[in-house]
């Protein structure tokens, strides 16, 4: 008996955890559908959507650009130390452009935006929740999904590909700078090699990933904020959860999408 009891106990706890996980996933999926439907259904709030485009796109440009620049630079430097042994310097342009467009630009941009935008969305909507501003909005017959959530999710999904496209260019440029000024490559050959290797699919797959990540970041920000617990503590927890869950989901979906695109 004293052996069975603890085992049952563990099973029960595991089962309860699992049920809780399913219920959270279920609620999240419902929330996502609700948000998607309200992106499409009028009324639209073009001014709010525009604001979010600027907030998410324009104000994230610096942080995403810097990340891409240094990632491209360090890639060139690192791959040189590896490839120099085989006299294969020419592969460096290839490594830089493939890594940046397929993986690094979308994933790093996604993670940076999760920290910058996901957190601020969760804090803003969470504060509106705990101060009853969301309830007030509802009683004034404005649907908070359409007014608050749809513009953010839409802007995140559309703007992240734009950011990542810019990051692609800046990242390749970072590799170019290190290649030409530090490693003494011929600039024309470097550009030629980059251009020869890169395929439309590399860039497109990265942009599709970016759209998915943009959706994840804004959705998790909205979801955690909207379901924020009470008080300042609730908003704090919502903000942390938004960033952590978005980051993990980005890495998981990155793997899944890579599998879908390249296998």
């Amino acid at each position: 008996m004293f052996l069975i009891d603890p085992i049952l106990n563990v099973c029960e706890r595991l089962g309860r955890r699992l049920l809780m996980l399913f219920s959270i996933v279920g609620r999240l999926v419902m929330f996502a559908f609700h948000a998607l439907r309200d992106v499409l259904v009028p009324p639209y709030y073009p001014k709010l959507i525009g604001q979010q485009f600027i907030n998410i796109g324009y104000y994230s440009l610096t942080v995403v650009g810097l990340t891409a620049l240094f990632s491209g630079m360090v890639l060139a430097l690192q791959s040189y130390t590896g490839f120099a042994r085989f006299n294969a310097e020419s592969a460096i342009a290839n490594v830089v452009v493939l890594s940046i467009t397929r993986e690094l630009a979308p994933v790093l941009a996604g993670l940076m935006v999760a920290g910058r935008i996901g957190a601020s969305i969760a804090a803003e909507i969470g504060t509106m929740r705990v101060t009853e501003q969301i309830d007030a909005m509802t009683t004034l017959s404005v649907n908070p999904f359409q007014y608050l959530i749809a513009p953010r999710v839409l802007a995140g999904t559309l703007m992240l590909p734009v950011l990542v496209f810019i990051a692609d260019i800046i990242g390749v440029f970072g590799g170019f700078i290190v290649g030409v000024y530090v490693l003494d490559f011929n600039p024309y050959t470097y550009i030629q090699q980059t251009w020869d290797f890169v395929q439309a699919m590399d860039v497109i797959s990265g942009l599709v990933k970016a759209a998915v990540f943009g959706f994840i970041v804004t959705l998790m920000g909205c979801y955690c904020g909207y379901n924020s617990g009470r008080g300042a503590q609730g908003v704090g927890a919502a903000t942390t959860n938004a960033v952590v869950s978005a980051s993990i989901l980005i890495l998981i979906f990155n793997y899944i999408l890579t599998q879908v695109f390249f296998s």
């Binding site: 009853e132 501003q133 309830d135 007030a136 509802t138 009683t139 004034l140 017959s141």
Partner: protein, 252 residues
């Protein structure tokens, strides 16, 4: 039966293991001013939020104009909510918008009225609560607590709703301004024909604005009657409450 504006039948609501509303039965007649009194944390705010559908009751039925609204959703709910104005206990002003945009929010965003049309209405409502046009372009954080409360009140009445909920309208106001607000609530009922449900701890305010009074205790309405009967309700809980005595049946 027909002239009840709001009917609550056996409404129950728990948060986790805490039973907040055990069994609320309450009728509000059309065009009357009802005041709900009761101790702190007894579920007064929760009661009016269930009527608005902001909190879903666990059991029971809520009828407004004879229509069952307990499980309204989507567009029906948006339409339904146009009947209501609500002053939240904490004000709940939108801190990213200016004062006049707050007051006009239900008009400009809820009903798509143009800003040009909505602005004078917002100013008129602000003046009704004793605020000047000069604060219209300020942000809520720049106002004092009592002024924020009044802005919130102006927002609640901006659409001339049929039913208005006032959650502690005079708390935090000076006695003169409190009386101005009492008059305003009375005016909403007598001139606009609105049905008003107010929550207050201020007995002077109760006597001024109420047609009838309901007392909530331990999640139930334990007394409901016209204001004239308040002083001889024959209910010891009510007596203790309105006279503010520490001794009596109400437990702490």
């Amino acid at each position: 039966m027909k002239n009840f504006k709001i009917e609550m039948q056996g409404v129950k609501k728990s948060f986790g293991s805490k039973d907040v509303l055990r069994n609320v039965n309450l009728d509000v007649k059309k065009g009357e001013s009802l005041v709900i009194i009761g101790g702190s944390g007894t579920g007064k705010s929760v009661t009016i939020k269930t009527i608005l559908g902001l909190i879903k009751p666990d059991a029971g039925k809520i009828l407004v104009d004879g229509q069952d609204v307990t499980n309204l959703g989507g567009n029906d709910r948006d339409e339904y909510l146009k009947k209501f104005g609500m002053l939240f206990q904490g004000g709940a002003l939108f801190d990213s918008m200016t004062i006049w945009e707050n007051v006009a929010f239900g008009l400009t965003q809820g009903q798509k009225m143009s800003k040009k049309e909505a602005y004078p209405i917002a100013i008129e409502k602000l003046e009704a609560v004793g605020l000047k046009e000069s604060i219209a372009q300020h942000y809520p954080a720049e106002l004092s607590g009592g002024m924020q409360k009044r802005v919130s009140l102006a927002r609640a009445i901006a659409r001339n709703p049929e039913i208005i909920f006032f959650d502690e309208p005079t708390t935090g106001l000076d006695p003169i301004m409190a009386d101005v607000i009492n008059d305003l609530i009375r005016k909403c009922v007598s001139e606009l024909g609105a049905t008003a449900v107010s929550i207050t701890h201020d007995m002077a305010s109760v006597r001024k604005i109420a047609d009838s009074v309901a007392m909530i205790y331990e999640g139930e309405i334990i007394w409901h009657g016209p204001i004239e009967k308040l002083d001889n309700s024959g209910n010891e809980y009510v007596d203790q409450f309105i006279n503010g005595r520490a001794e009596g049946p109400v437990k702490f």
